[in-house]
């Protein structure tokens, strides 16, 4: 903080009858944070604690307490409460970000070891689990196909359901649909997998295939799409619908040309988040897609693989080479989801209503 020099001294008693009062310099929170972390680390080292969590908790606690004490002394109790609230928000933010960053760091550092062009473009065909080499092409292909088919099934159904609920519903049927969508949101993925297994595979007699897995994924995806689309459609002001209807535009065109375009950014984001959610599903894929080492580009016949399934299989093998492959595949999975999210954000920004100012 280079601009930390303040023209006001650090502690001046608030003068009565004026609107100004003593303020802590702007670098105070940063300084208190640094001091707290140092104190936390120092205490931890001195006491010989191994758990870094303890160090962090002590630092966080010190940060909040010292901020409160210092502000009460210098600025008064109302400002102290304000600072404590701000500090708590920051502590929570750090607590939320630390696991995320550490996860990203571990995955990247372990995953980069075997991640290269060969890894992305080759399958595990002819590679023993214990030996190095091989790749994830078959799993990547499987994931793209399964998730793609699941989205093709779930997105239109979910979108139309949401349109029905917001634009047409209101009676008993809409209530029932809303209730069942809520119930579906809570279905564990393994149950969705078992459902497809009993109907599609056991009752109708089809073998394992990417399509069977995609159906289970679609079941998981649908309620998420319905919910997010519903919320986005509700945000569209009623005035726009009325403006369109008053021009003599039929209701279906109003929905298609006015309501949906206005909400399209949010809807896309919602669909993409749902896609991101099902991309990481393992259980239904394990049951229905079965897993293979070979490249099977046909999602309608024969076992396929998928990234989460590949990670699970390789980690279960447990040899160094296999675990390295598992980390690399996990990194690819995270990157895949992240790219989807970035694409969704791009679309949302591109399609969002423009203010034009």
């Amino acid at each position: 903080m280079s601009h930390a020099i303040q023209d006001r001294p650090l502690s001046v008693a608030p003068r009565r009858g004026t609107l100004s009062h003593a303020r802590l310099p702007r670098w105070t929170p940063a300084a208190v944070a640094a001091g707290s972390v140092l104190a936390g680390v120092g205490t931890g080292l001195a006491a010989g604690w191994h758990s870094k969590v303890q160090w962090g908790l002590i630092s966080a606690l010190l940060f909040v307490l010292v901020t409160y004490a210092l502000t009460t002394k210098v600025e008064g109790s109302r400002q102290a409460k304000d600072r404590v609230a701000t500090s708590l928000v920051w502590v929570c933010f750090v607590l939320a970000v630390v696991p995320l960053l550490s996860l990203a760091w571990v995955t990247v550092s372990k995953g980069l070891a075997v991640l290269d062009g060969y890894f992305l473009t080759h399958s595990m065909n002819g590679v023993l689990d214990a030996e190095a080499g091989g790749g994830i092409y078959h799993a990547l292909l499987g994931t793209v196909e399964q998730v793609g088919i699941a989205t093709l099934i779930a997105a239109p159904i979910g979108l139309l359901t949401a349109v029905y609920l917001v634009e047409y519903g209101g009676g008993k049927l809409a209530q029932a649909v809303t209730f069942f969508v809520d119930v579906m949101t809570g279905i564990p993925s393994i149950v969705a997998g078992l459902f497809v297994l009993t109907t599609w595979n056991l009752t109708l007699g089809f073998g394992p295939s990417g399509f069977a897995g995609a159906m289970a994924l679609a079941i998981l995806m649908m309620p998420v799409v319905v919910r997010s689309t519903e919320e986005m459609l509700k945000l569209v002001p009623n005035e726009l619908r009325e403006a369109s209807l008053a021009l003599g535009i039929p209701k279906w065109r109003t929905i298609l040309k006015v309501v949906l375009p206005t909400a399209i950014g949010g809807i896309t984001t919602g669909v993409m988040l749902a896609v991101a959610r099902i991309t990481g599903e393992t259980a239904p894929v394990l049951l229905l897609v079965f897993g293979t080492k070979l490249i099977n580009p046909n999602p309608f016949e024969g076992a396929q693989s998928s990234l989460p399934l590949y990670v699970y299989e390789q980690y279960a093998v447990g040899t160094d080479a296999a675990v390295a492959r598992a980390w690399a595949a996990a990194l690819v999975l995270i990157a895949f989801v992240m790219i989807l999210n970035l694409v969704a954000r791009g679309i949302a920004r591109w399609k969002a209503p423009k203010t034009g100012r």
Binding site: L240, G248, P261, P353, G356
Partner: protein, 258 residues
């Protein structure tokens, strides 16, 4: 163009609640008729029954007849969509479509109805924007979003959008209540020009505005909160504001109401 509206025995409901009761009136073509009255007396509801927008509200229901020249808007086999193409509407708050440019906003009614020729579109948009006194302000930025305009410009854009589909009647629901005096003046001037071509019905809370822009004025009132609104009287604007025939009208206009 510019049709006569003849309402007889019209009541409107929201579910079980009766909002307006047994209204009959005639609105002359090529004239401006203003609706005044206290809040909640059913002016806007009545206005919305004139292009069947009332039934868009959940539970909205209408009894009675609205004749547009010789056609009953509430007759069997009448398509509300066709009614709204004939009877346009401008709302209280400017509501341009946020995803569309200025040009697309004006063209929206034609495009989404599908009955237009591409070659005519530019002319119609220009004519409508000129008709709404907005052309000079926006002719260089037709491809910019409509939501980037000021409130008064947005409202004139909405008027341009409404007149682009060439309706016979234009309904305005407090079109100036969200605008500053200068924009209000611009819209009032515009109303004076538009009445050459359209039958105009305007709801307003501003009695000076009613006196300035309208030829005929209708006063609505309600007996008590929760009671349906009623038409008290409809007369030439000059007469309503100088020598109304009903005491309640005079009380309301002179501010002695309630």
């Amino acid at each position: 163009m510019a049709k006569r509206i003849d309402v007889s025995g019209l009541s409107a409901y929201y579910g079980a609640h009766k909002a307006i009761d047994d209204i009959s009136m005639t609105v002359e073509p090529r004239s401006v008729t203003a609706f005044i009255g206290p809040s909640g007396c059913g002016k806007s509801t009545f206005l919305r029954t004139l292009n069947r927008m009332h039934e868009v509200t959940p539970g909205g229901r209408v009894e009675g007849k609205v004749m547009l020249d010789d056609e009953n808007l509430y007759g069997t086999n009448v398509d509300p969509v066709a009614v709204r193409r004939t009877v346009g509407m401008v709302f209280q708050r400017p509501n341009p479509f946020p995803t569309m440019s200025i040009f697309d906003n004006v063209a929206a009614g034609l495009r989404l109805n599908g009955n237009y020729k591409k070659s005519q579109l530019n002319d119609i948009v220009e004519k409508s924007l000129k008709g709404a006194n907005l052309w000079n302000e926006v002719k260089d930025r037709l491809n910019k979003p409509g939501s980037g305009l000021s409130g008064g410009q947005q409202q004139r854009l909405c008027i341009a959008r409404a007149i682009a589909v060439e309706p016979d009647v234009l309904l305005m629901d407090e079109p100036c209540s969200a605008l500053d005096p200068i924009s209000t003046l611009a819209i009032e001037d515009l109303i004076g020009e538009l009445k050459e071509r359209f039958t105009i019905v305007i709801v307003t809370h501003n009695m000076q505005q009613a006196a300035r822009v309208s030829d005929r004025t209708a006063f609505f009132n309600l007996a008590a909160v929760g009671q349906p609104g009623k038409l008290i009287e409809l007369d030439d604007t000059e007469r309503i504001f100088s020598n109304p025939s009903v005491q309640a009208t005079e009380d309301y206009i002179s501010g002695r109401f309630g």
